[in-house]
């Protein structure tokens, strides 16, 4: 099928552009944005590859990848805000005096 190839090539070109932005990005958020969009395109690429190789059962992989992509984006955004993955506000307040990731903080400001 030729148009599977066309769609795959378009997605690959778009992924290359997103990778350039992810490496070049001026802020952390540009990188997170590029990686999030890259993950969405990976989901589409997996679905296309399933149909190109004639094994549509593997769309489960695309579904799992979509779930993981969303959760990892939210987790990284939460990390940029709180500098940890804690669910406990008291523990966070006690740790707040010692910054955990000064490098990230420096890049954020």
């Amino acid at each position: 099928m030729t148009y599977f190839t066309v769609a795959t090539l378009a997605i690959l070109v778009s992924m290359a552009m997103l990778l350039v932005r992810a490496f070049k990005g001026e802020t952390v958020y540009d990188r997170i944005l590029a990686v999030n969009s890259f993950g969405t395109k990976t989901v589409l690429l997996i679905a296309l590859m399933c149909f190109m190789t004639g094994r549509p059962d593997f769309i489960d992989l695309a579904l799992v990848y979509a779930l993981m992509n969303f959760i990892s984006t939210i987790a990284v955004l939460r990390f940029t805000r709180y500098h940890d993955m804690l669910d406990d506000d008291d523990l966070r307040a006690r740790r707040l005096s010692a910054p955990i990731a000064p490098a990230i903080e420096e890049e954020l400001t």
């Binding site: 148009y3 599977f4 066309v6 769609a7 090539l9 378009a10 997605i11 070109v13 778009s14 992924m15 290359a16 552009m17 997103l18 350039v20 932005r21 001026e26 802020t27 958020y29 540009d30 997170i32 944005l33 590029a34 999030n36 969009s37 969405t40 395109k41 989901v43 589409l44 679905a47 296309l48 399933c50 149909f51 549509p56 059962d57 769309i59 489960d60 695309a62 579904l63 979509a66 779930l67 992509n69 969303f70 984006t73 939210i74 955004l77 940029t80 805000r81 954020l108």
Partner: protein
């Protein structure tokens, strides 16, 4: 599969890949963060929906179509949610907009 369904699938996937190319181009070329986010958040959802719809038409009524519809629904829920989280986090960290550029010659030095 009839010719019309084939054409529908073809058109949908072609439109989807065009929209996805616009995503990459927008992220690469737009000048600052919020406009880049505007470029990705909209076109990502639309392009994914179009490509997955084309694949679902290709698959016919089968289990693969059910899975594709699940992927599409999930992407349509999580894409805007992730974009909202991205813009809200950036705004909370005071990532501000650049000063507005004026095109008129008289206002070149202003602001």
């Amino acid at each position: 599969m009839s010719v019309w369904l084939e054409a529908l699938s073809w058109l949908s996937m072609l439109a989807g890949s065009l929209v996805l190319l616009v995503t990459g181009l927008g992220v690469l070329t737009l000048p600052e963060y919020y406009s880049r986010l505007h470029a990705t958040s909209i076109t990502d959802t639309l392009g994914a929906a179009l490509v997955l719809f084309g694949l679902a038409v290709q698959a016919g009524w089968s289990l693969a179509t059910a899975k594709l519809v699940m992927v599409m629904l999930f992407l349509m829920i999580t894409g805007p949610a992730a974009s909202h989280a991205l813009v809200k986090t950036a705004a909370l960290h005071d990532l501000s907009l650049p000063p507005r550029r004026r095109q008129e010659d008289g206002d070149a030095g202003a602001d």
